[in-house]
Amino acid sequence: MIFLYIGLPLAVSAVLPLVGKASKRVLPDILANAALAGLLVYAATGARALLAQGPIVQQVRWLGEAVNIRIALDGFSLFMLMAIQLVSLCVGLYSINYMEHYGAKANYYALLLVMVAGMNGLVLSQDLFSVYIFLEVAAVASYALVAYGLGAEELEASFKYLMLSVVASAAVLTAIAILYGMTGALGFDGVAAGLRLLEANTVTGIAAALFLMGFGLKAALIPFHAWLPDAHPSAPAPISAILSGLLIKVSGVYAIARIFYHVLGLTPALSQILMWLGAVSIVVAAFLALGQSDMKRMLAYSSISQVGYVVLGIGIGTPLGVAGGLFHLLNHALAKGLLFLTSGSVQQATGTRNLDEMGGLAKRMPWTAGTNLIGALSISGVPPLGGFWSKLIIIIALIQSGEAALAVIAVLASVLTLWYYLIMQRKAFFGKLAERWVKVKEAPFWMTAASVLLALLVIGVGLWFATVFSTWIQPAADSLAKGF
């Protein structure tokens, strides 16, 4: 029952506020995390078995009548589902401790589950308009989650995020209307077939540009990134993790990939545009990250930069490039999620996000420091962690396609990435333990556990990258490349 991915989180989240009235602490936590864990297990085991028989299209039955809910699961969707459930579960576990003093935890978990349901629905949709609806579901939940602390900074960030998102939605809907006007269909297959018949390149180009504007804003590609450096740092740490780790990729990169490959068709022009957009994001964001003294802000700019890598990989268009991009998507989701979670641990322990005020925290918070280091090394592309392999694959794919300039840019930017992450490590964790931090304690159990879990995944994906690649990434890349 693939519909479970949307139905279960929604059902649980509807019930959670009531449960929260009865039991403030234990029950909501258990319920929410159990739901996420269940979905993860289903994705890892059951769904894979189903998939072995080919892409699944599910026709849901309601009270005996066949209701027209067509959701389909192919390699790409399954890969995204795995990534979503993995990171969401870790975020859910982490929130057990972190959201203690924010109040109304049941409500928080409910919003989190709605966001997960929205993301799941997005990757399962087979229809342009459904993609839009679930994008909005996840977005509306995220506005409230960013503003959850109700402080001036987060409210401001949430409002600016909201304003820009509305413009993005308008762009996406206009593009959908154009495509619908031309082909009379809203489903991926229908529109793709219609466009092939029509061959209307200019108008399709306009639609593509609008899609890029809208989804590019959601993915925080430069020049549409303005909201991210404010929203991600101000949000509570687990929300930053899920926003940077998942939402920008699901509502941004996944949508672009799905629509450009399955609906519009990747022309050489589009490929070049995607690649250069990606490259610009990589470089500009990396430079902007260098100058940051706010730990989470640096991580936010790094997200923009790494999403650039993913878009670059996907834009290459060759199977290897796409696979590299998707692999990097997974690596970044895991590692950035991990980094934001550990930064939250640091923020909770020390009360500050300013790197210049920290120092030597590794001595007092060894687990946090260690896992943070692993995440940083993975993103910077240090072997044998995951990020190294995915970047290598992207670079090889670039060279194979003859894009030498971009390959050089990718390599150099990787060095930059390593540099600013080392700065973060040195300032926050290593060096002399400042006076005021002598008394800080390691993060509470669930926060550390979630960080360790993600760190193990990061290491695992790196060490066993060949298996991960062939079981998860290759099918995803294949299904993306051949069309549904």
Partner: protein
């Protein structure tokens, strides 16, 4: 068709007034009028359901929420908008309108379209049968909205995180 164009112009005018008005209450009313006109436009296109929704929800519900917000933020009326912005507005608008007309003229024959099949069934059937997935999405987004409002207006205890 000419009446539609008059209505469209009126809608634009009401919206422009809503933006430029100094008094927030007048702006709210102008916005409601604009929604009303849009609803009538929908009716005249043969879309009664969309028209009803637009009028009752956007011109009705959203205006009420809007007024509620204005009431709760009474002192905020003193935000002085920049005068220059209001003066250059007509200029920008005219430039935009010219570009718009020009582009639309060019598009006029250019957008190719496939012939579509005639639509079968009633509105109810289309909404419930064909777009049922959207209904789940609607439920989800309403749930998100309700939860968000609950979360943003929650009671904060003394020892809350800032």
């Amino acid at each position: 068709m000419t009446f539609q164009i008059i209505l469209l112009v009126a809608m634009l005018a009401a919206s422009a007034f809503a933006i430029l008005a100094k008094d927030l209450l007048k702006a709210a009313v102008a916005l409601a009028v604009s929604s009303l006109i849009l609803g009538i436009i929908f009716f005249r296109m043969g879309a009664p359901y969309a028209g009803v929704f637009e009028i009752s929800v956007v011109a009705g519900l959203i205006t009420v929420l809007f007024m509620l917000t204005i009431a709760l933020t009474k002192q905020g009326d003193d935000v002085r908008e920049s005068k220059t912005v209001k003066i250059i507005f007509p200029l920008f608008f005219i430039v935009f309108a010219l570009i718009d007309l020009f582009v639309m003229r060019g598009i006029l024959a250019r957008i190719p379209a496939l012939e579509g099949a005639a639509e079968a069934g009633t509105f109810g059937e289309v909404l419930w049968k064909e777009r049922s997935f959207d209904l789940i999405g609607q439920l989800a987004v309403i749930l998100a909205g309700v939860l968000s409002v609950l979360a943003l207006f929650r009671k904060r205890d003394r020892h809350d995180h800032e």
